[in-house]
Symmetry: C2
Subunit: 324 residues, 2 copies
């Protein structure tokens, strides 16, 4: 079985060999930049790891894996414009380094390039694979829209929030696992199970992201800590805190939510303290663990022999313990 590292190398090598040094430079240079900034390559690794469950050659899903990673990076590029984010993986975002028009158009081009990896496959299931990818792509947009809608809502329930991150984050990880298995010729019901495992992994993964935004550290996480608190983002942590706070704690939380001072650090420290006092840290950790357990349980049900699943199982575990 291929390890995470080996599959990550294959993904990186493939992305590095794509030729984006072409005209018009203003269109393709940002694409190259975004793909070179790096990242965990989690999506192509998951795709190939899933393929590797059913085939000794994980590269049977390499084209799809590459398309999925490029699509993911396209969503980051456009989301960063919408979220007015300055940094991504400790590097300036495209709309900051260039400008907004460049970010819009280079993003569009990236999406088109991503789709290109789903054409011309000789795989007998190429239509199903393409269909999963296309449905997923639309769901990711829906998730981003709910995320933006929530900014304008006074109250977001836990249920609404989980549905939003299911769409925005989890379905793409789920699609990676399903598409990898489809490409490797796995039985359809196993492909569907892998999709469900991916949904649970994705929910755990995003909650972990929310968690690290408060309790992680900038160096390893690659984003400014407390960004979500500073911008009043309605994360799982804030939603639970508002739900569990007593009258006084709620007043204090709301005071900080309407804080208009310049010293955002004070706000971040204060809200983090409230989270700790309310036990949100443990609550979030427990929720993350619940979802990752569900994911592992589904993985257990697969008919694939046990030792073939080790790498994927380890990866799920690592994603939950990650600090990156």
């Amino acid at each position: 079985m291929y390890s995470f590292k080996e599959l990550q190398n294959i993904a990186n090598e493939t992305l590095k060999n794509l030729n984006f040094e072409k005209e018009p430079l203003a269109l393709y240079t940002p694409v190259k930049y975004v793909l070179e900034v790096g990242g965990k390559r989690l999506r192509p690794v998951l795709t190939m790891m899933s393929a590797n469950l059913y085939s000794d050659n994980p590269e049977i899903a390499l084209k799809e894996a590459t398309g999925l990673e490029i699509f993911h990076n396209f969503t980051l590029l456009h989301d960063d414009i919408m979220d007015k984010a300055d940094l991504r993986r400790n590097m300036p975002t495209v709309h900051k380094k260039w400008n907004e028009n460049t970010a819009i158009l280079s993003g569009d081009a990236m999406m088109i390039v991503a789709y290109g990896f789903f054409i011309g496959s000789k795989n007998p299931r190429s239509n199903d694979i393409f269909s999963v990818f296309n449905d997923t792509a639309l769901k990711v947009c829906e998730g981003q829209q709910y995320d933006m809608d929530f900014e304008k809502l006074n109250v977001v329930t836990e249920e609404q929030y989980l549905e939003m991150i299911r769409l925005k984050t989890a379905v793409l990880l789920a699609a990676c696992l399903k598409i990898g298995a489809l490409a490797a010729g796995a039985p359809i019901d196993e492909c569907d199970k892998l999709y469900e495992a991916g949904i649970n992994l994705g929910l755990a993964f995003q909650l972990q992201d929310d968690y690290l935004d408060v309790f992680g550290n900038t160096q390893t996480f690659g984003k400014n800590i407390g960004g979500d608190i500073a911008s009043n983002k309605k994360t799982y942590l804030l939603i639970k805190a508002l739900a569990l706070a007593d009258h006084d704690e709620k007043m204090e939380l709301e005071k900080w939510l309407s804080f208009s001072g310049e010293d955002l650090n004070r706000k971040v420290v204060a809200v983090t303290e409230i989270y700790k006092k309310l036990g949100i840290r443990e609550l979030a950790k427990k929720k993350i663990l619940d979802f990752s357990e569900k994911s592992k349980n589904i993985l257990n049900e697969l008919t694939v022999e046990k030792n073939r699943k080790k790498e994927l199982e380890n990866l799920i575990g690592q994603l939950i313990d990650r600090s990156f």
Copy 2:
């Protein structure tokens, strides 16, 4: 043979029946709005008209035709953000009616929806068709990039300009004709000829757009007349005027290009006068005619019997005489 009107009705009916009344409303309502604002439906009509050359049932290419129209409208949506355009077809653009984030994300969703129409076709050539669509989509982005690049250049040659509009406008019309013929099972060399006919038609069409922007009228054209002049857009007209002007005329043109006054109408009237004096109006008309003749000549070479080509021939003629 189906008439323009009949095919336009089929396209309109199909677009009307797509369901965009779904959650999240903030994502899909702008998509619905854009597709309902209308337009000539030139791309789906061309696709089906081309299919109708080789098949009695033009709807054999209806899915592709629909995808191509939705893709076209996606490009308009994103281009309008980049060009900061307030009006499209006499209606407020999406980023004006809603906001920029909505326009970015709804545009992304539209592109994904467009791709969806290329999945699951039983056509034995579906891979070729998808490939033409994908290549074309990327070229359209390249064209838009060159268009934006040209804003920052002091000099744009006629050759560079024609290459830009080939990418930005002509390749999509060409793809429509080629895809329609591919879907209808036409011989490959005829599909390629139709592509070439489409390129020439597209060049004529875009030059006609430049022409109407100066010499058309707002009511029928649906955009403000003189917009290109007001914004110093390096159209075919301006490029030729700068190339043909003598010393004094060039000085006057450049005076207006650096005009920073408020009365843009004065500028539009003055530059239009210079165009007229330099014979740019006739020159543009001649160039448009040249390209449309080339397009018709290629059409003539097709092995299809003469009376089957009538509708497409008429359409090319009308597009050149259009005032809309």
